[in-house]
């Protein structure tokens, strides 16, 4: 076991960890040693091949297919230099005011979150894509929504030099997304922050981090030799994500003092829906995600977004098998896709735990409200597809594999609520939130409004696990805003904490 002394350790290099690293980086000029530990590799540009299965294995935990405990959902998050910012689409939304109000965290105000979010919108080159860069898959969504009178909004995105490969979720081979792997981490490293990749932190007890650095066949070699390390630090910031951060704190023995640890996770359960048009579309190339509608946020508790996934992901998300499934897949070039996100409420039954071997266990029950939302969203998406001119629509809960235009008016009959069952359709999540939620009460929350763990002044959390409820928008900008607050608090208290 090698011993290493640091001043600040940051666990995780995604939207939270990368932000904290860059915000604290100026301290390096005063001789403060800051180390970021990232579990995944630092991939070289030529290792981002765009091949779906290969990149899933290289970038995602359990290839993006980690199952919830009851096996009803898969969870996707990345392990790489830059965390999940390497694989998001780059849609950059400021959390709405009503969400922060519903979070009801004393000391956390929306105007503060909004102002900090704006800082990152600027830092990450967030803008609206020019109309000429919008492909037909996205235009058809606008056409369908507009015909039905639904409000449509364009996503601001954080790309620069995007060539429209459409491979955002597999790691952009052009380096066009302005994730922490492109912006905050390189800036932090230039100022002296050390980023150690292939490094798994197994516990953070008493300001000591146990770290294992592994050798990997892919990516740049880690800057540390493979082996076991004990790293002492004055401040530890945990930013592993809504699964890893609670699990790390459990493994470190904090579950005993923090009754809310791991509890109240929300996931924005998602479905991918598809329809076939009678002609080839520009769909899998061009930027994949440009529009959404929040028309049903209040009444239906769901959002609809444009999306276009790759062959395996698409095949997996269609129900059925055999000739009809295969025939639909052969129409890939004529396919339009819509992503549904259900806006779920936290429940005590939904939580992160640690398994017998220290592995993460996510217990999440798809409640009746979420299933109702998914049911309503499927029918709404089908209406949008038909209004956009689709000739047949695949609805996972449909009584037939596809529904044709002749039956477009019978969706209520053809998509029965009784068909919406856990384990009967491909439900996934890439928006993992909660588990170390902020709040004032130590019984119902894990950290204060500045990410400091209750009763442990040297320990902070800076990721989406802080969210007391779901964000109702793609969460990364909010994570950065909250991480910015954490960094401010660490800066303000560093001298006191160091002593």
């Amino acid at each position: 076991m090698r011993e290493v002394k640091a001043d600040i350790v940051i666990v995780g290099s995604g939207a939270g960890g990368g932000t904290v690293a860059n915000e604290l980086a100026p301290l390096c000029a005063d001789g403060i040693r800051i180390i970021v530990f990232e579990q995944g590799p630092r991939l070289r540009d030529d290792e981002l091949t765009g091949r779906e299965v290969e990149m899933a294995q290289r970038l995602y935990f359990e290839s993006g297919g980690m199952l919830t405990h009851d096996r009803s959902m898969t969870l996707a998050w990345a392990r790489a230099y830059g965390g999940s910012t390497t694989v998001y689409t780059g849609t950059s939304m400021v959390v709405p005011g009503h969400v922060i109000e519903a979070w009801n965290v004393p000391g956390l105000r929306w105007d503060d979150v909004r102002e900090r979010s704006k800082k990152y919108l600027e830092e990450n080159n967030v803008h609206l894509l020019e109309e000429r860069l919008i492909n037909e898959n996205n235009r058809l969504f606008v056409k369908g929504c507009t015909a039905l009178g639904y409000r449509v909004r364009q996503f601001p995105v954080n790309v620069e030099g995007c060539r429209g490969l459409g491979l955002c979720n597999l790691g952009c081979p052009n380096g066009a997304k302005r994730g922490t792997h492109r912006v905050q981490l390189p800036a932090a490293e230039r100022q002296g922050v050390e980023v150690v990749t292939n490094a798994t932190v197994s516990s953070v007890t008493k300001r000591r981090c146990l770290v294992t650095v592994a050798h990997r066949e892919i990516g740049e070699p880690s800057s540390w030799e493979p082996g076991e390390y004990r790293v002492t630090a004055r401040v530890v910031v945990v930013a592993g994500n809504a699964v890893n951060s609670p699990v790390l704190l459990f493994r470190s023995g904090f579950g005993e003092y923090l009754p809310a640890l791991g509890r109240g996770i929300t996931l924005h359960p998602a479905l991918i829906l598809a329809a076939e048009h009678d002609h080839p579309l520009t769909n899998f190339f061009g930027f994949p995600k440009s529009y959404f509608t929040d028309e049903f946020r209040e009444d239906g508790r769901f959002l609809l977004e444009t999306c276009m996934y790759y062959p395996f992901t698409t095949a997996k998300n269609l129900n059925g098998f055999g000739a009809e499934h295969s025939s639909f897949m052969k129409g890939f070039r004529s396919m339009q896709q819509i992503l549904v996100l259900a806006l779920d409420d936290p429940a005590d039954t939904n939580r992160v735990e640690v398994g017998r071997h220290g592995e993460p266990v996510v217990r999440y029950r798809l409640g009746r409200n979420v299933l109702d939302s998914l049911h309503a969203s499927m029918k709404t998406a089908a209406r949008i597809f038909f209004a956009a001119g689709a000739r047949r629509v695949h609805v996972p809960a449909g009584t037939t594999f596809t529904i044709g235009t002749a039956d477009a008016g019978r969706l209520d009959d053809l998509v029965p609520r009784s068909n919406v069952r856990p384990g009967g359709m491909s439900i996934s999540s890439a928006h993992l939130m909660g588990g170390c939620r902020m709040g004032a009460d130590e019984k119902t929350s894990v950290t204060d409004a500045w990410g400091q763990v209750h009763g442990i002044p040297w320990l902070f959390v800076a990721d989406s696990s802080l969210f007391p409820r779901c964000s109702e928008v793609n969460p990364y900008v909010t994570v950065m805003a909250l991480a910015d607050r954490v960094a401010q608090r660490v800066r303000e208290r560093f001298k006191e904490l160091a002593s």
Binding site: R51, C162, L165, P173, P311, F312, F332, G424
Partner: protein
């Protein structure tokens, strides 16, 4: 195959041919790629999940025995599909989920092959934005 016996692999290929009909027409290279992906996928899962997958293949194989008196591979196409359809809509959640896992791994091993993509018209291009106006 590191993570599936020869017998189970052979049975998986039979079932896979009902899930994606094109798998029955794959050449030896395609079959080799198919099992390469299956092996990689199973290798990346916890040991318990690998054991459960193997056990589920056993369930699929013998599910039709009480009704038709023979294992899955000796049933005709229609009966094989009936077995799979029953599993897909099975009231027992664990069997339904097993079928989803089976389907997922078959789709991954087939549609995850770049060699298959041209048959779908999916050919990722580096100049996607230029192609929008081609």
């Amino acid at each position: 195959m590191k993570h599936l016996s020869q017998e189970r692999a052979s049975f998986l290929l039979t079932v896979a041919g009902r899930i994606v009909p094109e798998i029955r027409e794959m050449d030896p290279d395609g079959i080799s790629r198919f099992f390469g992906i299956v092996d990689g996928a199973l290798g990346g899962r916890p040991r318990k999940a690998r054991r459960q997958f193997g056990a589920f293949l056993g369930v699929v194989r013998w599910l039709g025995l009480p009704r038709w008196g023979m294992p899955f591979e000796r049933l005709d196409d229609d009966r094989q599909d009936r077995v799979l359809r029953w599993l897909q809509r099975c009231p027992v959640r664990v069997l339904r989920q097993g079928f989803w896992a089976l389907r997922t791994i078959v789709f991954m091993a087939y549609y995850g092959q770049p060699e298959v993509w041209p048959s779908l018209g999916y050919e990722p291009r580096w100049d996607g934005n230029e192609a929008l106006h081609a």
